[in-house]
């Protein structure tokens, strides 16, 4: 019945005991792992890191730190009073001890702190307009302006008395730092956006960074508090929320749902199929055991190799259930078909086919790790180790544990013998010709419709509503874009700041043309020492003249202003007031100093080319466009792995020829057709082609080829066909469920494999080798009742 030419060694009992020990160790590790799950939720962790660009990579990571853990809420109303009342109500409702959010920073107190840091160095801190004004006017004119200010009608009000700051430079400098839009009002940060007054509230998340229980505590608390705020302020109130914890929570809740649906759904489907086919509890228990061990091994090995497991890996790994059950099902199908064969002999028959299937699947999964994407490498390691573990469980334990025979069932019998009635593809027949033409008609127009799209959005699963609010908040607050920025390098800290100042001088003139609102740079708050000193001499000139003139006017001597020391980098870095900007200062690495300049208000309409050009012109300044970098990386790997895939097909063809000789094409052709059909389907459906679709094709090659191999290895073996059918059904279900995922990359995996495996399963028997001629005439064969059916359950 089988075509094995050499009997492999059957594993000894010692190996079974060894595996038991390993599994026990695994159980302990898993219990420990799930008590404190080291699960990662960050999309950025899936992307390649800093190997090619260490400064850019660390800059990117530092900028991400700027806002992690913070939730920003904007409440808007045409009347400020209502907005304020709503903000206070919201704050009140979130202020009890169990709330998942805690107010971020006391803005009034931090303002006092910041004043304390900068005030002693005030004279060296000027805005660009002030510098220009002080340079262009004579000392007498400036003094006249200062004195006019003093004699203005009514009470005086300001941050410093006139004698400390005759020209009123200090309040203007502060206002320029806070930005055009934001100011403190009634103890809240307020924004005015044309028609609406907005109140800004900032919170930090108090929960541990990750919870996989499917709940959204932050979301619920915010909904409750928002409802209360709406009661206070009426329907005209708008509430916008943004922040990394919201996305993380939504992603975790969605992923938790998906893992449960895909994992449990596939498991339930597999067990149901087993029940229907075998009508016995033992196969269900044993297959469930092999799947459990496989999944646990996947988690354990991934955690061991990478230190943590990413959420997306778990979702993808849930689909492994549909693939790893193949080995168990093959075992039980064969046991059912040959009840009198001893288990050792059965194992000897199955082992070559199972090992070849394992090999192709593991190689296909490991090929996912070819691209330097940590996310894909995690998925590769998870799946490969899970499959190996399931295989080992079947091969080492099932022969010892599964002692009693499995009674055949009518469904199993019908399915198994459907193989004989399955049509063969005969190119010379009309049916075959029509089918061939239909396939060509589907594939050939469909393939050119495929558009490639290498955007990073393939990994992003956030709901569009959340993304829209995030964008609206970013626009209102003028938040800088974290993916595009300038890196400024220099030989020491002073040179870096001087270069930054040159850059920001250019950026100010470029802002309107290039389509951005402003910038955020360390040198804005901490100018270079040279600049502080030159600014101070300008201010001193004007202030001395003002005080002298007034002294002459009033006929009393007034104290002349004294020199102030410039603010140093160390003092700035250590003070809590610099906390929000500290991530922009990259410090020293490899003998060079570096910092980051962020741009605010970048949009799709911005002229990024002119910014890149600016980066090329100025020494020590480099423009980094991280999302474009990653997109081009994704595209690059899509093409390379596409080429490798074609090579893979050639390699598989060679391997099959070596094993199967003349019939090798029968195993390969269904998979090739399935690959073309699935690609054409993507084209017809309008789905974009990206790296993950190509990865899915690799999986299709690895999994689909197994069916062909089994049908050729075990020629006309109904038990083999039964196993292939059951296996295909469970794989289809698992990947079909994966296609429901909200993450486009996983959706692409699921859809491609759903279509591909269906086609492979349907076409593989069409290409099976011609039947071995039987010694008995066909009619006699039909009249002999099958002996297996007479056994009672």
């Amino acid at each position: 019945m089988s075509t094995t030419d050499s009997a492999p060694r059957v594993p000894t009992p010692a190996l079974a005991w060894l595996w038991l020990l390993i599994v026990l160790g695994l159980a302990i590790q898993q219990i420990d792992f799930w008590r404190h799950p080291r699960i990662d939720n960050d999309v950025m962790a899936l992307l390649p890191g800093a190997s090619d660009d260490p400064v850019g990579g660390s800059a990117f990571a530092r900028i991400a730190d700027l806002t992690t853990g913070q939730v920003v809420i904007l409440l808007g109303h045409p009347q400020w009073e209502k907005a304020r009342a709503a903000a206070e109500t919201l704050q009140q409702h979130l202020s009890n001890a169990n709330a998942p959010l805690a107010p971020s920073v006391d803005d009034l107190a931090s303002l006092d702190q910041s004043l304390a840091l900068y005030a002693p160095h005030r004279r060296g801190l000027l805005t660009a307009q002030q510098r220009h004004w002080l340079q262009s006017q004579s000392a007498d004119a400036l003094a006249a302006s200062a004195i006019a200010r003093l004699y203005a009608p009514g009470p005086s009000a300001g941050l410093a008395s006139w004698q400390d700051d005759p020209l009123g430079l200090w309040p203007d400098w502060w206002q320029a730092r806070l930005g055009q839009r934001m100011r403190l009002r009634d103890g809240l940060i307020a924004l005015h956006d044309g028609a609406t007054h907005w109140a800004l509230l900032r919170f930090n998340s108090t929960l541990p960074p990750f919870q996989l229980n499917g709940q959204s505590p932050i979301d619920e608390a915010l909904d409750l508090a928002s409802a209360q705020a709406r009661q206070v302020a009426g329907d005209a109130l708008q509430i916008l929320r943004a922040g990394v914890p919201l996305h993380a929570e939504a992603a975790a809740a969605r992923a938790s749902w998906e893992v449960n649906t895909i994992g449990l759904g596939s498991l339930a489907a597999v067990l149901l199929l087993c029940w229907v086919a075998f009508r016995s509890v033992r196969p269900i228990l044993l297959i469930a055991l092999s799947l459990l061990i496989g999944s646990a091994t996947g988690v354990a090995v991934t955690a061991l190799v990478f230190g943590h497991v990413h959420l997306l890996t778990l979702v993808f790994g849930a689909s492994l259930v549909g693939v790893a059950e193949d080995y168990g099902i093959h075992w039980f199908a064969s046991r059912q078909a040959q009840p009198r064969q001893c288990v050792q002999g059965l194992l000897r028959q199955l082992l070559p086919g199972l090992m070849l299937a394992l090999l192709t699947s593991v190689i296909a999964y490991l090929a996912l790790g070819l691209a330097p994407f940590p996310g894909l490498r995690q998925m590769a390691v998870f799946s490969a180790s899970g499959l190996c573990a399931a295989f080992l469980t079947v091969v080492l334990w099932f022969p010892w544990v599964d002692r009693r025979p499995i009674a055949p069932t009518s469904l199993a019998h019908r399915l198994a013998h459907s193989l004989a009635r399955w049509p063969r593809w005969r190119f010379d027949q009309l049916g075959g010709g029509i089918l061939g033409l239909a396939l060509l008609g589907f594939v050939i127009p469909g393939l050119p419709r495929l558009q490639s799209n290498d955007s990073l959005r393939a990994l992003q699963s956030s709901a569009p509503a959340l993304l829209q609010q995030e964008q609206a908040v970013g626009r209102l607050l003028g938040l800088p874009s974290p993916a595009q920025f300038f890196i400024v390098t220099g030989a020491d800290a002073e040179q870096v700041r001087e270069r930054e100042e040159t850059l920001t001088d250019h950026l100010r003139t470029l802002a309107a043309e290039a389509g951005f609102d402003g910038y955020r740079a360390v040198s804005d708050w901490l100018p270079s020492t040279a600049r502080q000193q030159s600014d101070q001499s300008l201010a001193l000139r004007a202030e001395t003249a003002s005080l002298q003139h007034l002294g002459a006017l009033l006929d009393e001597p007034l104290a002349t202003p004294s020199e102030q020391a410039p603010l140093t980098l160390d003092a700035w870095l250590q003070h809590p007031a610099s906390e929000t900007l500290r991530p922009l200062w990259l410090g020293e690495a490899h003998g060079k100093w570096a910092s980051v300049v962020l741009l605010q208000g970048l949009s799709a309409r911005s002229d990024l080319a002119s910014l890149a050009e600016l980066g090329n012109q100025l020494p020590g300044v480099r423009w980094v466009d991280r999302s474009a970098q990653i997109s081009s990386l994704l595209g690059h790997y899509r093409q390379r792995i596409g080429a490798l895939l074609c090579l893979g097909y050639v390699a598989v063809a060679v391997a099959l020829w070596w094993r199967l000789r003349a019939h090798f094409w029968r195993a390969l052709l269904p998979t090739v057709i399935a690959a073309l059909v699935s690609l054409a389907s993507l084209g017809w459906l309008g789905e974009p082609l990206h790296l993950f679709n190509v990865m899915a094709q690799i999986l299709l090659l690895g999994i689909g080829i197994d069916y062909g191999i089994f049908l050729v290895e075990h020629r006309d073996d109904p038990a083999s066909w039964l196993a292939v059918t059951l296996g295909a059904a469970s794989t289809l279900l698992a990947f079909g469920l994966l296609a429901l995922s909200a993450t486009p990359a996983l959706h692409a995996f699921g859809l491609t494999l759903l279509i591909g495996i269906t086609v492979v399963w349907a076409l593989s028997p069409c290409f099976r080798p011609p039947a071995v001629p039987s010694p008995l005439p066909p009619r006699l064969l039909d009249s002999i009742p099958p002996q297996r059916d007479t056994h009672a359950h």
Binding site: Q137, A141, A144, S145, I147, A148, R149, L150, Y151, A152, P153, G154, P155, S156, A157, S161, W162, Q163, G168, P171, Q175, R183, R185, H192, L553, L554, D555, E556, L558
Partner: protein, 217 residues
């Protein structure tokens, strides 16, 4: 009006009731000044002019200066638009106050915008307060201050203002106004110890706004 109503009611009831009600009514009317809108007496005595011109003399006693700062010049006040403060001594400059802006112009052509309405609401509040004081706008002042008035002979009065809200109280301790048909004298005491005194004289309500003056606003 309240007194009349109470009086009518008193005439309906019997003799003893009538007495009590009349007494209460009388008391009510006497106290009326405290319960009705603030500074009624002053409000009645002030002339309601859409435009006022005159001379001013400002004395500022500021901490850190031994001698007070004195300036004098002309002012122009236009209701609903703002004020123009034309300082002549010791130093010529023109300050334009409107609800949203405070602009300083120097004779050499320099223009300095000291505040922009959106940019800093604290200073904008001070600006609108100043305009209300100059114009004698009792309604606007009543919103922010508690007042107590003293009515004097020949139509003269003085008014003391204390800020209600703590935010304003942090800046201003109290304001004293005095005048007759127009506000003649203004003293602002600040929390920091500074004191500003402004005296107005030669106040008329003609001639009307010239084109050049209107363009300055």
């Amino acid at each position: 009006m309240l007194c009349l109503t109470v009086g009518t009611l008193g005439s309906i009831g019997g003799q003893p009731v009538r007495l009590i009600v009349f007494l209460l009514a009388g008391l009510w009317c006497l106290l009326g000044g405290g319960l009705a809108l603030a500074a009624d007496g002053v409000r009645e005595r002030l002339a309601d002019a859409p435009l006022l011109r005159g001379d001013f003399e400002q004395t500022k006693h500021l901490r850190g200066f031994r001698n007070p700062l004195q300036s004098s010049g002309h002012f122009l006040l236009v209701r609903d638009q703002g004020a123009q403060w034309d300082t002549r001594q010791p130093f010529p400059s023109l300050t334009i106050l409107t609800r949203d802006r405070l602009l300083s112009k120097l004779p050499d052509g320099q223009t300095r915008m000291t505040l922009d309405g959106d940019a800093s609401p604290a200073l904008a509040a001070i600006n609108s307060l100043l305009l209300a004081l100059l114009a004698g706008d009792m309604d606007a002042l009543a919103e922010q201050f508690n007042s107590s008035e003293t009515l004097l002979d020949e139509g003269a009065w003085t008014l003391k203002l204390r800020p209600r809200e703590t935010a304003l109280a942090r800046l201003i301790l109290g304001i004293e106004l005095s005048g007759d048909r127009y506000v003649r004298h203004l003293v602002i005491e600040e929390h920091s110890g500074d004191r500003t005194e402004i005296t107005f004289s030669a106040i008329t309500d003609s001639p009307t706004l010239s084109a050049e003056e209107a363009s300055r606003f």
